[in-house]
Symmetry: C3
């Protein structure tokens, strides 16, 4: 489901950025957005085969996402708010699943949290780099940092022997909640450069 949504959001972002994108171009960008984060994580970990190479289902889910995005283009742009919720659910799930996968490689919790965050946000970073925009995570309020926080919560609860499903749920909730509060109240982190 996260994959489906990411493919849709990638294709939409491409089409919005440049009206001239044809179906192939928008689809290509949707594809990269959907697999980018997970692929980067797997390459960094040396985990082969990559998920979408080993399991054909991903390719078809992405294809469906792209077609849906193309067919319901105008409708989807109107549903911005629903969209935001989907995006938030998408990054929450990707973060926790990515963190869990990384842990299975016997790496430290700190690095696992980064891998979870990468899984969630790097697809979008690659997408934005390809369409020549400043990546979204540097433009948006608290986004990747919310993922990192969620991953940290998951790892902390895990260490406290909390059951896996509960860790999972709480971590996802934390990310979703932080994102909703951030968007609603325009919260942002302190600037790096002092005025």
């Amino acid at each position: 489901m996260g994959t489906l949504f990411f493919a849709m959001s990638g294709a939409l972002a491409a089409a919005e950025h440049n009206e001239e994108h044809d179906w192939f171009g928008a689809g290509f960008i949707g594809f990269i957005t959907a697999i980018g984060g997970g692929s980067l994580r797997d390459i960094l970990l040396g985990s082969y085969p990559l998920v979408w190479i080993g399991d054909l289902m991903f390719l078809y889910v992405i294809l469906i996402g792209i077609v849906l995005a193309g067919v319901f283009y105008n409708l989807l742009l109107k549903l911005r708010k629903t969209f935001l919720l989907f995006d938030t659910l998408g990054i929450s799930l990707f973060t926790v699943l990515g963190t869990e996968k990384a842990l299975r490689f016997g790496i430290s919790a700190e690095v696992a949290a980064m891998m979870g965050m990468f899984t969630a946000v790097m697809g979008g970073v690659i997408r934005d780099t390809l369409i020549n925009e400043i990546p979204v995570i540097f433009r948006k309020e608290i986004y990747a940092s919310a993922c990192l926080l969620g991953a940290a919560v998951y790892l902390l609860l895990s260490k406290l022997q909390v059951e896996r499903d509960i860790c999972f749920l709480i971590a996802v909730l934390v990310i979703v909640l932080v994102r909703i509060l951030v968007v609603k109240y325009h919260i942002s982190l302190p600037k790096f450069k002092r005025k």
Copy 2:
């Protein structure tokens, strides 16, 4: 030969994009263009060592390509049409060879076709990202999609037990033909965004 040409086209594109590029900068971009697509394919497949790391010949072929591009710079820019043909031959060969290599890793035909296309076009995508342009595959008419079609033709004929050399030849011809027709008649895919 595909590698030689890609190195030349990369160095030329770099120099055209920015007059200030020195030999090293243009050569660096030529190098990345030549090895980018194949390297990405091999990294995604987990196929080590990468072709150009295992076989020194590639490095020297690329070097020759860059020197040729520099020495015959003005001549080559005049020969745009010949150039286009070389580019088309380059992507055709890379597509089919990339698809064949991917198949040897026991992956599905669908993913193999994508790998063939990646081999052909991703060197150019990385080149364009580095010189800060919208990647060529999103600007040019039917380009990467022609590669995907060629790969599909190859895989279909292969499945029908057609001899390998004939599959190879037909797939290359399909890509070349599609590209020639597309450029000649300015054919393009339907836009993703409806007006």
Copy 3:
């Protein structure tokens, strides 16, 4: 130490490029700058686990670098010249260490020199691509080429059976010296495109 410096320079470059970067954004870019070159080298070589994934120390050194860069932001910008020296020391060390690591994989000297250069400069290339600038190595005078020269010197001396520590020292000195001369006398390589 090279890692520490690269993290600082990455965070500073990010903050200078765009005043709006928050701590997380600048830190993220600092992190990528610090690990980018080495990670790319390890992925190209198929060397797992990546250095910073296997050894948690790197993550903390990077964190310290980012915090230092943030706290002493104004001071550091005034110390431009010291900064340049640090950068030069950083790329020198990274080049030679990268070359040595590549050699351990039994690859040819030519490819090992390229890997050394990649280790030194690709973190900066990725950083510049992310913040949407033309990569520094295509803007700066003789930079990556100095690294390549230093790697060549190292490999040559190594072949002549010179002791490792002396090879190391001379190669680092060559890079530092070339960079200092280049910056002082504004030396540049010949342009690729003839006027």
